[in-house]
Symmetry: C2
Subunit: 168 residues, 2 copies
């Protein structure tokens, strides 16, 4: 029941607001993290399942919803059995400013030990990307295709801690 509610009815009826309309589409559990995964280059079901640790049936339902909403599109890369890779549409790519804002807010207020696990850089000049998706080095307002993600200091620290825990 939890998982199906957004398919059966609107989460936010009577909300005369484009924020509510956005959350109808991407506010489900996992949906925005799936979009993030595709931004990060995890295009295949198995990669996403491994990255997210989400149940297969939930991931499958969320991917279908994102296809239905024209946020993702899929392209077959293998026959028998048929296998697909998922790509962001223009509508999906336009979620980048939302993700960048959430990333920066999380870095600031839910910091991970050792610093941000991920850093976003301007492809062309290597500058840091601000919470507004602007390159802090050259001042250009960026879109999804202008930016790359690189590991941040927090990622190395967290992976080291995880490795130490496993060997203990």
């Amino acid at each position: 029941m939890c998982e199906d509610h957004t398919v059966l009815h609107r989460d936010y009826p009577n909300q005369l607001c484009s924020i509510a309309n956005s959350l109808e589409v991407i506010g489900e559990r996992w949906s925005l993290l799936i979009v993030r995964d595709v931004f990060n280059g995890n295009r295949r079901f198995g990669e996403m399942q491994s990255s997210l640790g989400v149940a297969r049936n939930v991931l499958s339902a969320r991917l279908q919803r994102l296809l239905d909403e024209d946020i993702l599109e899929r392209r077959q890369y293998q026959e028998s059995p048929a296998r697909y890779e998922y790509f962001l549409t223009a509508k999906g790519l336009d979620l980048w400013p939302t993700l960048i804002a959430l990333l920066n807010w999380g870095d600031r207020y839910s910091p991970t030990p050792g610093g941000p696990p991920k850093l976003i850089r301007h492809k062309v000049c290597g500058g840091h990307v601000s919470e507004r998706g602007v390159c802090e080095a050259c001042g250009e307002t960026l879109t999804a295709r202008d930016a790359i993600q690189v590991p941040g200091p927090g990622r190395a620290a967290a992976l080291a801690a995880a490795a130490a825990g496993e060997s203990a």
Copy 2:
């Protein structure tokens, strides 16, 4: 059970990512719309309940979570019975770029008949605020306190349609 899961455990365990960390805090159903309501000046429980149409117990739980997370703070405005108004903290105000990005994405891809129901304007010069929270007239990068919300063309159309429906 649906409503309590985020209190009982983390939604996105093992997600080494500040986007996931942000969604732990504000990704619950209704939470971001409550934050939006306070941005819009709906500071009292009854105003929010009326605006959102959400069950009282759900609203109460979400408000408590937002207080616990230091996104909202409350100030008593009446004794016996005690009544409170809710205000955004600095952490809550810093969700503005996320909300602006979601608002613009919704305006673009889930448009309401007649146009956007809300428009965001720069207080000082009246310029339109971009999806990056930048004034398109004067070029200033804005924060929550620099912007005001005004009814958009879609709001008038939707209210007129609702009134016509009620009188039919």
